[in-house]
């Protein structure tokens, strides 16, 4: 447990942008714990739409942190995360 890490969205960012969305393998993924449903009202040329964005998984956050070097993702020990809850 001591050497286990988790990846998380920084609290300050999550507070400012609760529905922030980013790309993972060409798919829009929200940086929050829960899926997000976007409802778009229809216009004369477009019908109404509903899109569901899945919540980022640990694997997604790891990719953002390790590969993309995303500044709003942090890597913390599982123990610290547990204490913070």
């Amino acid at each position: 447990m001591e050497n286990e890490f988790i990846y998380k969205v920084k609290d300050s960012f999550k507070k400012e942008y609760p529905n922030a969305v980013t790309l993972i393998d060409g798919v829009g993924v929200v940086l929050s714990e829960n899926d997000f449903t976007e409802e778009t009202t229809g216009t004369l040329s477009d019908p109404p739409k509903t899109r569901v964005f899945r919540a980022a998984t640990q694997e997604d956050l790891k990719h953002l942190y390790e590969v993309d070097k995303h500044p709003e993702i942090e890597k913390i020990s599982a123990q610290t995360a547990k204490k913070a809850k």
Binding site: Y17, G26, V27, G28, E38, D68, H70, P71
Partner: protein, 182 residues
Amino acid sequence: MPCVLTGVNSVVDCNNNFGGIVKSFACKFADITTVTLTAGEVTGFTMASTGLWKTYVYDLDGTANYNQPGAINNNRFSTEQTAFLKFKGFTKAYVDAANNAKDCCDVVFIHVLANGTRVIQGLEVQAATGAPARTANRSTRIIPSLNTDTTQNESRMEFSVTGNANSFSMTTTMTDSAITAL
């Protein structure tokens, strides 16, 4: 950026290389929280929320373009970046779109070139993944025009998108579906 000269040879074949732009996507600068770079190219954005990129499909009549002439004043380099987009017609929807667009202080466009390259107007070049940097010398904004013209011609809405930057637009690998997935 350091001084580096890179050799260029454009005489590899005599195929046409079509100019102009064929489609654009736009959002407000403030809607982008992070720009993701891979090997100097933009490979993604983190947006403040979903559905913020809007698609602009304009007349495919050979008038749409995006130009970045370089200029130097004493030893100070800059580039005036201008895109021209034309939408035939004149409707209430156009009036609303024009009135709303003129009030945006700072916008970012992804232009799809006729040759397939995609460039981003409204951001300065950045070295690594991080917060976006707006065009340094003058923010990028839309100057809309609504013209009826005469019966011999067509009524139309025109967008002139202008800004002044210290660097030429970055390219992006993002496809249409990737942009609209955000």
